[in-house]
């Protein structure tokens, strides 16, 4: 008869039993799993020493029944305990809770709901990156027009729509269409937003318009100013490419415009001679838009290192603040109702 307590059969049995302990609820396993495994190992050694393989077989038969019966019992016990806790909670609410309990419970529930919702929305929202290109615009009005324009600008009596007009030009269909074409956005966005089908020009421009933001960044000396062209999107590289392409396209358009302006100046003496002396250029007449401008790209856009939206700390802080406010209101109302029910239990039940 084999009498070695270090038998492989004992070790294998012990290992198998340790695995079978997974049948018990986690809490029970955590608390008693190790001593149970140790006890079984001791039983295995005894059985092996007493009757070898036969002893182990009998032990396994006995322990299998024990395992099935007690693991099921532990699960049922857990289930019963949870059911009991739930019933107690329900009873606590049905039997006129104190205003303090009502306030605390309602406060906790509403606060957690608001905070949970804000956290959920914050973490579910797709990340949005921003890239900004900066350009400098120098109006190039010539002759009388330039002087008048400059004086008016310095004096603060410039046309308020001047910069707006220039900004509107940047996100005009002419420039956006050029950018879309240059970057092949109709194809690439079609893959993302239209199941691979190429977007129409109007759709592409509409999408492009929705993700750009152009604003006057700062006025610098004389009549010059800086514009910031910001592009928002899920792809930081693409956002920076679009911002740079917008700045570049606007600069190209300005060059063309300047050339046209020079040609117009050359034609002007002939126009004056032919009896149109009183007809001044529109730009010079009411200090309006200069006839041309020079655009410099001051800063090229670079891919944003981290998303600008959603702003997680801000959203969570708002969730906490909003949660506290709403939970206080709901909890307060609940506490008032509970107080009323306690002071007039009959009217509450009828």
């Amino acid at each position: 008869m084999p009498k070695s307590s270090d038998s492989t059969a004992v070790a294998k049995s012990a290992k198998l039993y340790e695995r079978l302990l997974a049948l018990y609820p986690r809490e029970h396993r955590r608390e008693y799993g190790r001593p149970m495994a140790q006890l079984f190992r001791d039983q295995c050694r005894d059985a092996w020493v007493e009757a070898g393989t036969w002893g182990l077989t009998v032990l396994w038969l006995r322990v299998s029944v024990d395992l099935a019966k007690t693991s099921m019992a532990e699960h049922l016990h857990n289930l019963k305990r949870r059911k009991c806790m739930f019933s107690k909670m329900l009873l606590a609410f049905r039997a006129h809770p104190t205003p303090r309990t009502t306030f605390l419970v309602l406060f906790a529930v509403v606060f957690l709901l608001v905070l949970g919702s804000s956290a959920l929305v914050t973490f579910l929202l797709p990340a949005c990156y921003a890239s900004t290109a900066r350009i400098k615009v120098e109006p190039n009005a010539t002759g009388v027009a330039r002087e008048q324009f400059k004086q008016a600008f310095v004096a603060g009596a410039y046309d308020p729509h001047l910069t707006q007009t220039e900004l509107a030009l940047i996100d005009s269909a002419a420039i956006l269409g050029r950018v879309a074409k240059k970057l092949g956005l109709a194809e690439s966005w079609g893959k993302t937003y239209a199941n691979g089908e190429r977007l129409t020009e109007a759709e592409t421009i509409w999408l492009l318009k929705s993700c750009i933001d152009v604003r006057v960044f700062r006025r610098v000396g004389g009549a010059d100013w800086l514009d910031a062209i910001s592009v928002y999107g899920p792809n930081p590289k693409e956002a920076s490419e679009i911002a740079n392409a917008l700045a570049e396209s606007y600069r190209e358009l300005a060059v063309v415009s300047a050339e046209e302006s020079v040609l117009a100046e050359i034609d002007r003496p002939f126009a004056l001679d032919s009896g149109k002396r009183n007809e001044q250029p529109r730009s010079a007449a009411g200090v309006g838009t200069p006839r041309s401008r020079t655009v410099y790209i001051v800063d090229n856009a670079v891919p944003g290192p981290r998303p600008v939206r959603p702003n997680k700390p801000l959203n969570l802080s708002l969730g906490i603040l909003g949660g506290i406010l709403l939970a206080s209101v709901v909890g307060g109302v609940g506490a008032l109702v509970a107080n009323r029910r306690r002071s007039h239990p009959q009217s509450a039940t009828t």
Binding site: P35, Q38, L39
Partner: protein, 128 residues
């Protein structure tokens, strides 16, 4: 088992497993394996507790504060220091005593009914 009335007349009967575990701890602190052996020896191997039954019972007895885990750890050379030792609490001692008295009363009743004989007289147990 959370609320136990220690009055023997009102106390619900303990299950055999619980009673045997409590009895095994009457003489002092024991670890799981020692309890199991004690139960097997005292019942002449009629009750052999598996690890599931033993620790399920221990868990309920600890929850009912009838037994508690002892801080004692044996000398590692003599015994495995990872073993957990259990001992009866004051409440546990009262309960096991009350259960033993209840058994005693039942035994007296059975004797009066001549179901079993007087102590020391063997072989005169009545049958049904």
């Amino acid at each position: 088992m959370a609320m136990i009335d220690v009055n023997p007349e009102n106390m619900p009967p303990l299950t055999p497993a619980v009673f045997h575990v409590l009895l095994a701890l009457v003489e002092g602190e024991r670890h799981g394996y020692a309890i199991m052996r004690e139960v097997a020896e005292s019942t002449r191997s009629r009750i052999k507790m598996g690890p599931g039954t033993l620790y399920g019972t221990v868990k309920r007895l600890v929850a009912a504060r009838l037994i508690e885990e002892s801080d004692r750890r044996p000398d590692p050379q003599l015994d495995d220091e990872r073993r957990r030792y259990y001992r009866l609490t004051g409440l546990g001692q009262q309960v096991v005593k009350a259960e033993a008295q209840r058994y005693e009363q039942l035994t007296k009743l059975a004797r009066r009914k001549r179901l079993i004989g007087q102590p020391g007289r063997a072989g005169n147990a009545g049958g049904l």
